[in-house]
């Protein structure tokens, strides 16, 4: 755990107690079973927004608290523990970052206060195929109208405004497109992790350019990746703790199965990987707050390492629980499904290892 300021500790503690009281994994299960159209519980999201979590990175003049990315990471980590579904990453992190870094004063004034109080939801529409390839953009803009297809748009069904990547004159840019534009059509994607996602088709939708081009896109993506890694850190730690508790209580052959060295050493390995991953995630978030030139490198490190660790822990959670872990009634499957969806989102381990090597010049 990073060394926190008093305000950060308070923020983390309030997130921790809210998640435990109001949003246990059972709440996620209820949301899934209800087949919620948006992929999250709107009432819970409103509570989160009331506590100011949607505005953690947003400047005070636009209704946020300007606490920074490490602080938002603390909230995301706690939400990740119980797989709490919400538009916080898409809206309060992704869309908010795009506006903070690339919005004009008018654009900021129009959207940031609404993102900060949760009255509007923003979403990033950058992927066009089954793999995250943000540099390959087929969508185009001409005469202020955007045309193209985006897929795996996180919280795409809930969004009031999209931040969309497209090219204009061969250059990659980011644009704001309102969801109620006549040129926007969206359809829900039903994914294994039950979270909100959509295909979105733009047909000559009115598009307002943000300032910053491909560099802005990369900056926004790195902020989202680091925040997602923080959510994964919380989920992986919870998956590990639940599994460890099972090792201490499940009895076979007349003893708790946690007394078997074959399982003990795998548990020790997971703990080691979780500790290493925490360092990488916290370093990436701190680098963003410090506006360090190493952000791309450190974010790819964090997303890749965290992806490997969540992958390992989610598999072991099912395996160590045995048959009960295979049942839908147990939570292990939720963590397994969320792990793969989070790994694939905004670049999987292979993507980020390749990016890390390129940054290092090999």
């Amino acid at each position: 755990m990073a060394v926190l300021t008093e305000e950060q500790s308070m923020l983390r503690d309030s997130a921790k107690s809210w998640v435990q009281e109001k949003s246990p994994v059972g709440a996620f299960r209820k949301m899934r079973d209800s087949g919620a159209e948006l992929g999250y519980d709107v009432a819970a999201w409103n509570e989160m927004a009331e506590m100011g979590w949607a505005g953690v990175i947003i400047p005070e003049e636009f209704g946020g608290s300007n606490f920074g990315y490490l602080s938002l990471g603390l909230v995301l980590e706690e939400l990740g523990r119980t797989l709490t579904a919400s538009p916080l990453i898409a809206s309060g992190l992704g869309a908010a970052s795009a506006l903070i870094l690339g919005g004009s004063d008018a654009q900021k004034s129009e959207w940031l206060p609404k993102l900060a109080d949760g009255s509007a939801v923003g979403a990033l529409a950058v992927d066009e195929g089954p793999h995250h390839r943000p540099e390959k953009v087929a969508a185009t803009v001409s005469g202020g109208k955007l045309t193209g297809k985006k897929t795996f748009v996180l919280e795409g069904m809930a969004a009031d405004v999209f931040v969309v990547s497209a090219t204009e004159g061969g250059k990659v840019e980011l644009y704001l497109v309102k969801a109620d534009d006549a040129g926007v059509k969206r359809s829900k994607l039903s994914l294994a992790d039950s979270r909100g996602a959509a295909n979105v088709e733009f047909s000559g939708a009115a598009a307002e350019k943000l300032n910053g081009g491909a560099a802005l896109l990369e900056k926004v993506l790195d902020r989202v990746r680091a925040g997602l890694a923080a959510e994964m850190l919380g989920a992986a730690n919870q998956a590990f703790e639940v599994t460890l508790e099972y090792l201490k209580t499940r009895v076979q052959f007349g003893q708790v199965i946690g007394s078997f060295q074959a399982l003990q050493h795998r548990a020790a390995k997971m703990f080691t990987e979780l500790e290493l991953s925490r360092s990488a995630v916290e370093a990436a978030l701190a680098a963003i707050d410090a506006d360090s030139p190493d952000v791309p490198e450190l974010v790819s490190l964090a997303k890749a390492k965290m992806g490997d660790t969540f992958h390992l822990v989610s598999n072991e959670m099912v395996q160590m629980h045995g048959g009960i872990g295979m049942t839908d009634a147990h939570d292990a499957g939720f963590y397994l499904k969320r792990a793969r969806a989070a790994e694939a989102a905004f670049g999987n381990q292979a993507f980020h290892r390749d990016r890390y090597a390129r940054i290092q010049g090999y």
């Binding site: 990073a2 050493h265 020790a268 360092s279 290892r353 090597a357 090999y362």
Partner: protein, 400 residues
């Protein structure tokens, strides 16, 4: 120069810089510490001796140890200045070895005033070398089953038995040693004693290893003698002290995972394997493994930094060192494997002019590196410790 008390670090830096300039022999610039090569048995040169004596008399080889026992008495910030100025001048720290790494910190914590007065100053001066008598032929990972016996003879003990994997035993002046003083108990029957290696009852035999060198010895005791005043801690209370000392040892070994960054591996790979049209290492399978090792190295360094930041205010190594040892040694071993693979046949040369110096060194380093996950508590013992002490799983092995 503790008088500075950290209030005027710039003045202190200037003082250190001037002192190094006046005292460090130019002929030693950029040379490694000769003690690291002691297994080759070269006698130190007059310049090396002069530098050791100069640093030893300042106490700057053990900068944060108390001044009354011959240490530098410096604050952490001042110690980093000394380290930085040495590095700037290309000067090695001539004071080192097991006395500095493990025994000194442990004696400062557990020794009596008289023991500290007698044994710490020669370590700070580099006058005496220490070796560790822990492992035995039948007490490796299960260290507490050790059998070397010490009989109480009033003012002294008589010791019989043998130790193995004694690092630098052939060059050591003194041994800190775990002995059995109560055969009826396991952990509570072990005592921690000190004695001179220069006595008739002590015989040392170097053990050639798979890498062609002999950094470790077998040590045999036949009625060897240890004075009562050199018993550290209470009789039969040596295990607690041994555990503490092992933490110091492990934090030293895990440091091997840091050091060299992954970038040098990638440079080697570019040189030996070549690059494709995009400038990537031409063998993409190798590139993938090189970048994984580079990233693991970076995460390990981030974690070492995090552990340090979090444990500020703590006096010594924390339980997290157990995680660090396994993580650090796996990374270091993988780096050796990758280096060997990158060099191909050129990385397998044993001796002769057909191979560059780096190439001959890597094959020895690769082989020696296999010891990293064995000594100082094997990776399996480390995993037992994490399972039991940190995760609270049932203990069936009485791991250290």
């Amino acid at each position: 120069m503790a008088d500075f008390g950290g209030t005027d670090l710039d003045a202190f830096r200037k003082e250190v810089r001037d002192w190094v300039e006046a005292n460090f022999p130019a002929s030693l610039k950029g040379k490694p510490n000769p003690m690291a090569r002691e297994e080759r048995g070269n006698d130190p040169t007059p310049e090396q001796e002069a530098w050791r004596k100069a640093v030893g008399s300042k106490g700057w080889g053990t900068p944060t140890w108390p001044k009354e026992y011959g240490g530098g008495g410096l604050s952490g910030a001042e110690a980093r200045i000394v380290q930085g100025e040495f590095a700037r001048a290309g000067a090695y720290n001539p004071i080192g070895g097991m006395g500095v790494m493990m025994f000194g910190p442990t004696l400062l914590e557990y020794g009596t005033e008289a023991q500290k007065q007698e044994h710490i100053p020669p370590i700070c001066r580099g006058d005496l070398q220490w070796c560790q008598g822990f492992s035995e032929p039948n007490a490796g990972s299960d260290l507490a089953s050790l059998q070397t016996k010490a009989e109480d003879k009033g003012d002294h003990f008589i010791i019989n038995g043998s130790k193995v994997w004694t690092s630098g035993g052939q060059f050591a002046d003194w041994m800190f040693c775990l002995v059995r003083t109560d055969p009826a108990k396991k952990h509570e029957g072990i005592s921690f004693v000190l004695f001179s290696m220069h006595q008739p009852g002590v015989e040392v035999r170097p053990i050639p290893l798979i890498n062609g060198m002999a950094p470790f010895c077998e040590t045999f005791f036949t009625d060897a003698r240890a004075e009562k005043k050199d018993l550290v801690g209470p009789l039969n209370g040596g295990w607690t002290i041994a555990k503490r000392l092992l933490q110091h040892e492990r934090s030293g070994i895990s440091g091997m995972g840091g050091g060299m960054g992954g970038s040098s591996l990638s440079d080697l790979a570019k040189k030996y394997v070549g690059v494709d049209e995009e400038g990537r290492i031409a063998d993409h399978d190798l590139r993938n493994r090189v970048v994984r090792n580079a990233m693991e190295t970076k995460v390990f360094q981030q974690t070492a930094f995090r552990v340090m930041a979090e444990s500020k205010g703590n006096s010594g190594p924390s339980a997290a060192t157990s995680i660090m040892k396994n993580a650090g040694t796996w990374i270091a071993q993988e780096r050796h494997e990758l280096t060997l693979e990158i060099m191909g046949h050129q990385g397998l040369g044993w001796e002769g002019d057909d191979f560059a110096k780096d190439e001959l060194e890597i094959v020895r380093a690769w082989l020696y590196g296999k010891a990293f996950t064995i000594f100082g508590g094997s990776q399996e013992v480390q995993s037992n410790i994490v399972s039991k002490r940190i995760l609270g799983l049932p203990d069936l092995t009485q791991a250290q």
